[in-house]
């Protein structure tokens, strides 16, 4: 089938939505479909072959961060031309209610439109106020996808439409085949953490306290930390004698993230709240790491109720320390959890996620022109 995908954000800046779109497009192409992605980009920007540029992007603060988007008459013309030349069977827009190409594409669309909602938008009151104004736009969307339970709830409660929940995919192969960093995980055991360690809801202080306690009894135990943040700030709270056993990688690229996750014995997610899905857990599962995570609803769901990773009561310092000690001392249990994780993560692998998206495409096409497909889409 011919699929047109619209990205609201420029690929120049990495981000969750952009990664999602690229992985989805590649998975669909691999399944034998024709895919064209319309995205804001400089005309000389280095983008994959399936990306069509809709002109230069301008930075705009949106939803708590700076997004690079295109909006305006020139963009509208380019969107129209792309739609006309593409002759798509289905149009798939992401974040259609941001002022972006996605919104313009929905306005100009004729046929079946599928929309994916990524963020659980907090500005829902503003959105609810705009509901009357947005109604004609909403009506053009045939089927809706939400990437998390939270995003789906916002849809249902504030925009009065249902949505199918299809989780974010993970490129299992990329993570499973990455080479560990040289010298890691080592014989003494390695704990891993990825994320903004200064952000309280990521729960890093819990892991830090647990690590300091465990490292005193286990001379070889090391800690691998990646993510944005200031190196000094990380080391300030760790006793000086442990400094050479804590490695800080800073902000890592996607390939380095995979290598980092391959380099740990136990990946720790001590988050205390605010997680809607737990993308990092699926990535750690794909990399074959054993996972210890707080028992947030989102984590519990991804980890299949604790079978694909060990859970500890949210915020409970003593439980986390005890759990990590048990896992480090028990390679058999680690192997068992990791092999279970490998099975569970199959449901989040891009080919199977792309197949579920294709089912939504088929449903949207059927609801628009009354065709009913004979072949199964999975």
């Amino acid at each position: 089938m011919r699929i047109g995908i619209v990205s609201p954000y420029s690929f120049d800046v990495p981000g969750g939505v952009q990664n999602h779109i690229m992985d989805l497009a590649e998975a669909l192409i691999e399944l034998g479909h024709e895919v064209s992605v319309l995205a804001p980009a400089d005309d000389d920007a280095d983008v994959p072959a399936y990306v069509v540029s809709a002109g230069r992007a301008v930075p705009l603060p949106y939803n708590g961060s700076v997004a690079r988007i295109s909006f305006g008459p020139i963009s509208t013309a380019r969107v129209r031309r792309w739609l006309k030349n593409g002759e798509f069977d289905v149009l798939h827009v992401h974040e259609p209610f941001s002022p972006s190409l996605s919104f313009l594409a929905v306005l100009s669309a004729r046929g079946p439109v599928v929309a994916t909602f990524h963020t659980a938008m907090t500005r829902s009151r503003a959105l609810a106020g705009l509901q009357n104004f947005l109604q004609p736009v909403m009506e053009k969307i045939t089927a809706r996808i939400a990437v998390s339970e939270l995003a789906r709830k916002v849809q249902v409660e504030h925009l009065g439409g249902g949505a199918v929940e299809i989780p974010n995919g993970v490129a299992v192969r990329k993570f499973a085949s990455a080479a560990p960093l040289p010298g890691w995980p080592g014989d003494g055991g390695t704990l891993g953490f990825l994320g903004r360690f200064t952000e309280p809801r990521k729960g890093f202080p819990l892991l830090r306290t647990a690590y300091v306690a465990l490292a005193r009894e286990r001379p070889g135990l090391r800690l691998l930390v990646a993510g944005p943040g200031d190196r000094d700030e990380l080391y300030d709270d760790i006793p000086a004698e442990l400094h050479d056993r804590v490695e800080f990688l800073g902000l890592v690229s996607e390939p380095d993230k995979a290598r980092m996750l391959r380099s740990v014995d136990v990946y720790v997610a001590p988050n205390t709240g605010g997680e809607s899905f737990g993308m990092i857990l699926t990535e750690a599962m794909a990399a074959g790491a054993t996972i210890a995570a707080s028992d947030l609803d989102a984590f519990r769901r991804v980890l299949d109720g604790g079978r694909a990773g060990a859970l500890f009561p949210n915020g409970d310092q003593a439980s986390l320390t005890r759990l990590l000690g048990e896992l480090l001392d028990d390679p058999a249990r680690r192997a068992e959890l990791a092999s279970c994780a490998r099975l569970v993560v199959g449901a989040f692998d891009w080919p199977s996620v792309a197949n579920r998206v294709l089912e939504v495409y088929a449903t949207a096409i059927e609801a628009t022109d009354g065709r009913v497909f004979d072949d199964e889409w999975s």
Binding site: G162, S177, R262, A332, A335, E359, E366, V372, W377
Partner: protein, 186 residues
């Protein structure tokens, strides 16, 4: 002349108003057509699910499931919803083996029913909200279309993740020399 401007103003307003009415009429037509298409698609997927369930029931020789599938296939419009609900209840009660191709087809068709119903509900809601608009009601722009109806059934979800092998829940002793990450061995 002030009189001229008054006339021009009325003409412009009338033009805007008739453009709005034309747009609304088109919108009403589009929404009704879509709701009808969605209904046809939902109907087709329900048929497919019932047929797939009948195949599974024949294989497993479960009489109740087969009867429920037949009833769903033959149901009159008025009884359709309860017949489909019965079928869903039967399907959720019988043990299904995901390794069986017939069961896999059944699970896939159930997933499509869930999607088709979701989209159908949304499109019916859109069409009904268009029918409630003031000018649509005053000018009876909807008189040419039958009123779309919701199809009210319980969510016919079947578990689509295969249950994990039981052996994994028992701790398996691993040789201590084996590294926890396979790539190390390469």
């Amino acid at each position: 002349m002030p009189g001229m401007w008054w006339v021009v103003g009325v003409v412009v307003l009338a033009a805007i108003f008739s453009a709005y009415l034309g747009w609304t009429a088109q919108r009403v037509e589009r929404l009704h057509t879509r709701a009808q298409s969605a209904e046809r698609a939902l109907d087709a997927h329900l048929m497919r699910r019932a047929a797939a369930a009948a195949v599974v029931a024949e294989q497993a020789e479960t009489v109740e499931l087969y009867a429920a599938a037949r009833l769903a296939l033959d149901a009159e419009p008025g009884d359709r919803e309860s017949a489909e609900n019965d079928l869903t209840r039967q399907l959720q009660a019988v043990p299904l083996d995901p390794a069986d191709p017939a069961v896999r087809t059944l699970i896939a068709t159930s997933r499509r029913v869930v999607l088709a119903r979701q989209v159908h509900t949304d499109l019916v809601r859109d069409a009904l909200s268009a029918r409630r608009r003031v000018f649509v009601r005053l000018l009876r722009l909807d008189r040419r279309y039958t009123r779309p109806e919701y199809f009210d059934i319980v969510e016919p979800v079947l578990p689509d993740l295969p249950p994990l092998p039981a052996v994994l829940t028992v701790p398996t002793p691993a040789p201590p020399a084996e590294p926890p990450l396979p790539a190390q061995a390469r």
